[in-house]
Symmetry: C2
Subunit: 119 residues, 2 copies
């Protein structure tokens, strides 16, 4: 695992939430798990642009941060299910607020974002 060389700030609430949500796919993972897509392969299908590897890594981080729980069924072929912890569930309204803002302003957002992207 990569070992940080720069120690993060953990001063205020924004620093703290940033530490656990910062990761390209984490918010979407939480969102889809909340929606009931619990198995790794389902999540992968929901987020096809992410590699399987990163999803595993980010799920592990979410687990370490106690936002999700992983349940491994001792069957073959293997079966794994993720679910939100209560802590993770408490984040849903916040994520929801992010998503709503994005949805409400989607046209403008697409325009300003694409302005900065060539092609």
């Amino acid at each position: 695992m990569y070992e940080r060389k720069i120690i993060p700030n953990l001063n205020c609430g924004l620093d703290l939430i940033g530490e656990v949500l910062y990761g390209k796919w984490k918010i979407r993972l939480l969102w889809f798990i909340e929606q009931g897509h619990k198995r790794p392969s389902e999540l992968q299908r929901k987020i096809p642009d992410a590699s399987r590897r990163v999803l595993n890594i980010q799920l592990k981080e979410l687990e370490d941060h106690e936002l999700v729980m992983k349940k491994i069924y001792p069957v073959v072929p293997p079966k794994v299910e993720y679910s939100l912890t209560d802590f993770g569930k408490s984040l849903i309204p916040v994520i929801s607020a992010l998503g709503h803002w994005g949805d409400q302003h989607q046209d403008r957002l697409r325009r300003v974002i694409l302005k900065r992207i060539p092609g």
Copy 2:
């Protein structure tokens, strides 16, 4: 300027808001500007861990994304003031929600974050 090689998804609201808020210091910049800290040097003092350079770069992106406005006063020594656009202001409640969640859970967050960081 760095030119992306991987095109981002802009499917849902979460993708979109992610594009404009993803950046180590952006949320804090918006927050401090809203608090009335408008000049680059003030922002720098508020966020001493960020280099001057990155703050400039991220402010420029926030400006391109129409979340902040930059006013340059033609005086010497130079004076610049940033302020939130209406679009930027509409994000404040969302950022506020992020901060509140972080504040409410700060002890737990510190604990789980530090678990993963050596030393």
